[in-house]
Amino acid sequence: MAVFSKSKRKAQVSLRDCVACGCCVKACPMAAIRIVKGVFAEVDATKCVGCGRCVKECPAAVVAIAEVPA
């Protein structure tokens, strides 16, 4: 996984529209997402490797992969 962890691409959730269904949590191979208080999904940027699986899974299409400064 060392190769991936250099990536600066991280998943970002649009909190306002997240329905907190948890599909992304199940899809994430790095266990980088959790649902906060049943309201929205939160990505732990230190764990996220930017693989985009959560983006594919999210039924509300509220996750995107964005370049973030390392």
């Binding site: 329905v19 907190a20 269904c21 948890g22 649902i35 208080k37 049943g38 039924p59 509300a60 299409a61």
Partner: protein, 191 residues
């Protein structure tokens, strides 16, 4: 990823739907998946029901994901908009209370038991073969028919949006999911 026992709860949902074809009275059991998520949210468990235990969500994930029955496209914007989600919630509960009202009418003797399952609040499907009569009061059966209609309708809607969009698209506008999230929002003052 490690499988947990609760990852198999889709089996329960499937059995529930099938049982309704044999004996409508099993529909009563569906009250559990109505009240458990709400009670859990009120008790501070967040949306753990959706996130972990909901068999229906798993069923869509299975059929749409593993079995590849979903186009896996993003849903149209309106589906996740607040007015649609809250609007659907209101519509759903209006229909739900109408169903309770019909049950009441049968209970009060103002109306005969109707042995039909109403699909999508419109289509009356004859369902008498799943009613083996007499052993229960008519209103008990009426509620079962009504409740099963709700469950079947939501499954059909969920299945359609599963086919068209992402597997668990239903979870975007599922009234139970919307309501548990609302409860959670209210609890942490994020309305």
């Amino acid at each position: 990823m490690k499988k947990n026992w609760y990852d198999n709860l889709w089996i329960v949902s499937l059995i529930y739907l099938l049982l309704g074809f044999f004996n409508i009275l099993f529909a009563w059991a569906g009250l559990f998946c109505f009240f458990i998520p709400l009670v859990v949210s009120v008790a501070g468990g967040g949306k753990i029901y959706c996130n972990r235990y909901c068999g229906r969500g798993q069923l869509f994930a299975l059929f749409g994901g593993r079995f590849g029955l979903s186009r896996k496209k993003n849903p149209p914007k309106f589906l996740k908009s607040r007015w649609f989600r809250y609007g659907f919630l209101i519509f759903f509960f209006t229909m739900f209370f109408l169903m309770l009202w019909n049950t009441w009418l049968v209970f009060a003797g103002a109306r005969e038991l109707r042995q039909v399952v109403k699909l999508l609040w419109t289509f009356k499907l004859p369902w008498h073969w799943a009613y083996h009569a007499a052993s229960v009061k008519p209103w008990v059966a009426q509620f079962a028919f009504g409740f099963y209609s709700v469950m079947l309708t939501s499954t059909v809607l969920g299945f359609i949006t599963m086919l068209l969009f992402k597997p668990r698209s239903w979870c975007v506008y599922c009234p139970i999911g919307t309501m548990t999230q609302l409860i959670c929002k209210a609890k942490c003052g994020k309305m």
